[in-house]
Symmetry: C2
Subunit: 473 residues, 2 copies
């Protein structure tokens, strides 16, 4: 039997964990600088908490957990059976042979009542409602935990992956949108990832456009086509729109969107004119203006804010601002973050009129971008600073005294555990990427010294304990 | 519908997450100081990786995940069905109505091929075998991840909980046992938890005792009875041993164990004499002596090492040293850590002769002990240092400039997002436990100042930005 792991899952090596932790740490530090506090929710929720919250496709991608652990005695078979299995067997004739009872949900509900977390938003909404009396609103929480989806695995898409979310619930203040843009900028600046584009749009502007073109059901077709402007040109886009059933007169009305360039201020002016007859559209323009003006006057460190009217993610739930972050143009990669405002986050669990706004960081893609741009610092490693070679128990005892003291100073040092050939021990240090080797033989012990070898330069010198400590700090 | 979570699982509030992270961070830092490097494995493994590794009881406690995501067209019903359900239905007659096919394993294997991680040791063994060509041996890894068990939930026992493990594989050197004792001491010292007892024993000593009493199948009965010496006295223990079928002559042979007190050196001398005719027993005494001598000469910071011959955990897999950590005697709580050496960790996955030794920290219990002894530093919190009150957009804009600058210096500060009654904003700061409130009104803006109020002392003063920054650092 050759050991393997389920498709779509991953093992992470020490080097990979160190790099992932480096990114997570930067995100966490910034979440807390911006006043967000961590919560954690269970890996699995009651099925009814999750089912029906992600659409039909989402329901199918939820991993369900078999009932387990409850056994009782079966009189007929005279053996112990799991409750779940027995319940199934008791109804076997109908359950299995008739059409209506074979439906997946009815069946799996019998044998499964728990399911793995599919995202962090629904568990967060559940948390807020369940703990509403312990929480002070506005509640700013962050959550960095794995989620699971039974998606077909492909490059960059996994069945287990981390989400890193920051959300505020309980306030409709647009200052929060301003801060969330700053938060993106702060994290990516700290990661050395300069030149990301934080795209912003507003659901109300999209509604306004739909009003103007007189076809809200064609909104997605419209934005998808408009997004291709760079690739297929104005005529190509218009052709595609008409093929999708958008009328020529509607397209004429939004003509300014085909030359939608310039600064954010210029874009906002164009939108103002275009949407002047849509109350909702105007509201969206005002919201955008507040956010962009304030972000601009506070300044961003290394990111670019851009208004993108084709940004149309999460239309099923976002009601205000919509965010998406694109990596620097030198990297070919999809979005590395996204978010928005949803006016009724907790309504599904019975707590009405609680507005939420939040953003998410795509850990796996950020990792790939940072790797590609070679932005991981060399110091991102959990490897020991030095290894003491092992020449036998007397020498090891002398080494362990030094190691114990160095560790008390916080240094990462280790002893090669076995007294094997020195060449093998050196090879081990080299392959592990440990930068320093400390050699303790009879002579060193006699003189109360250590031979310190720098594996990068090849340089070797005899040092006292204090000198050794200084060299390794 | 009142939202809830599955039994045996937990939500963690910001305060709880901060405390848990504090403990985990201390453990991680020490793992790395001692040369261990992190790996991570998937939350679910192929069922065959886990099943049969934890005994019959363990198998029943493994959470199994329903197959999902693969659908195909059912000719008879003319609907799309999950593969798993259809496979079941196809065999419905036999599957459900006959005795032999109803067995749990056969049934669940049809519809489930994955299962949630039950511990970190088996996934680690799988990892080592799967990645043996990328790993340098000896391989020192640590792993801090959740595990899941379908145990009956009770006080302090959960269905989802974290394990924190450090193991070395690929070396039989006893220096590793020495270092693992030091590692326990170092972590608990860093946590301020002084006076823990690190109990040590050796499987070979237990085998020696079994040899001497001539009944290896009675070993557990023997140690369980012996462990009650304090409570029921020598006569009571002997009575219980005889009731369990241990002969009077056998009990006579191990008489020294009934007065097994004194220093470790004295205990080792007694064992030496007692086990002089058991080759394995003598080997165990020698191993213990090496470990205890070296731990003693290197010294422990705040823990006590003790030799406990009644320590008999993990007899199914431990082959050498056995460890268990007891909290300080002022706290009534079971063990807060345990571990040992297992000579054939990876054999189950086909890689023979790889010895491993490792220890584990019980996060939940350590949390309770530190809470009970009031050892969490007050600084363990993710709460903001200061909140700026909101008097309207002009004032908020002025505040946001300061906030943006303070965050760039790494400070945790926030803006109250809404312009609501000041009393409500103060109340919010208070309930959140934020120590400072910053007030920006017209006067402060005119004078380029901030009013800084310390909520603990009630003191309030007008300060410049630089003074504000200094006060909050």
């Amino acid at each position: 039997m050759k050991p393997s792991i389920p498709k779509g899952t991953r093992d992470f090596s020490p080097a990979e964990v160190a790099k992932r932790q480096y990114i997570i740490q930067k995100i966490k530090t910034n979440f807390e600088k911006f006043g967000f506090q961590p919560i954690e929710t269970p890996s699995f929720e009651n099925s009814e908490t999750l089912m029906g919250k992600y659409g039909e496709e989402g329901d199918r991608l939820i991993f369900k957990i078999l009932n387990s652990g409850n056994f009782f005695y079966d009189k007929k078979l005279k053996i112990e059976l799991p409750e779940s299995l027995d319940a199934l067997r008791a109804n076997s004739a109908e359950t299995i042979s008739t059409k209506e009872l074979i439906e997946l949900n009815k069946f799996t509900n019998r044998i499964s009542e728990k399911a793995l977390r599919y995202d962090l938003t629904v568990p967060f909404a559940r948390y807020v409602v369940q703990h509403q009396n312990e929480i002070e609103f506005p509640f700013k929480r962050y959550q960095i935990q794995p989620v699971w989806r039974a998606d077909r695995p492909q490059k960059g898409r996994f069945r287990e992956f981390f989400q890193c979310d920051a959300d505020v619930v309980g306030s409709i203040s647009l200052w929060q949108e301003v801060e969330l843009v700053q938060l993106y900028d702060s994290v990516f600046t700290d990661l050395g990832l300069t030149g990301v584009t934080i795209k912003i749009n507003n659901r109300k502007i999209l509604s306004g456009i739909a009003e103007v073109i007189g076809a809200s059901d064609k909104l997605i077709d419209f934005t998808v086509a408009l997004d291709k402007l760079d690739k297929i040109g104005e005529d190509g886009v218009k052709k595609e729109m008409m093929e999708k059933g958008i009328s020529e007169s509607a397209i004429k009305k939004v003509q300014p969107l085909f030359n939608f360039t310039g600064t954010i201020t210029e874009k906002i002016e164009k939108l103002s004119a275009l949407l002047s007859e849509s109350i909702e559209g105007i509201k969206g323009v005002q919201e955008l203006q507040f956010i962009c003006d304030n972000v601009s006057s506070l300044g961003l460190s290394s990111s670019i804010l851009d208004l993108d009217v084709t940004l149309a993610r999460g239309l099923n739930y976002y009601t205000g601002a919509i965010f998406e972050v694109a990596p620097p143009p030198t990297v070919s990669m999809g979005s590395i973050g996204g978010g928005g405002r949803y006016d009724d986050l907790t309504g599904i669990f019975g707590l009405k009129n609680v507005s939420g706004v939040g953003i998410s960081f795509g850990l796996d893609r950020i990792y790939l971008v940072i790797e590609e741009l070679n932005l991981f610092p060399e110091t991102v490693t959990s490897t020991s600073k030095a290894i003491f070679l092992n020449f036998g128990d007397q020498e090891a005892k002398y080494a362990m005294k030094a190691i114990t003291d160095l560790r008390k100073s916080g240094l990462k040092v280790e002893l090669y555990p076995d007294n094997v050939k020195i060449a093998k021990q050196f090879q081990y240090a080299d392959k592990r990427g440990i930068p320093f080797v400390v050699i303790v033989g009879e002579e060193e012990m006699r003189n109360n010294q250590f031979s310190l070898k720098n594996l990068t330069s090849g340089e070797q010198q005899k040092v006292s304990f204090d000198e050794l400590k200084k060299a390794l700090i």
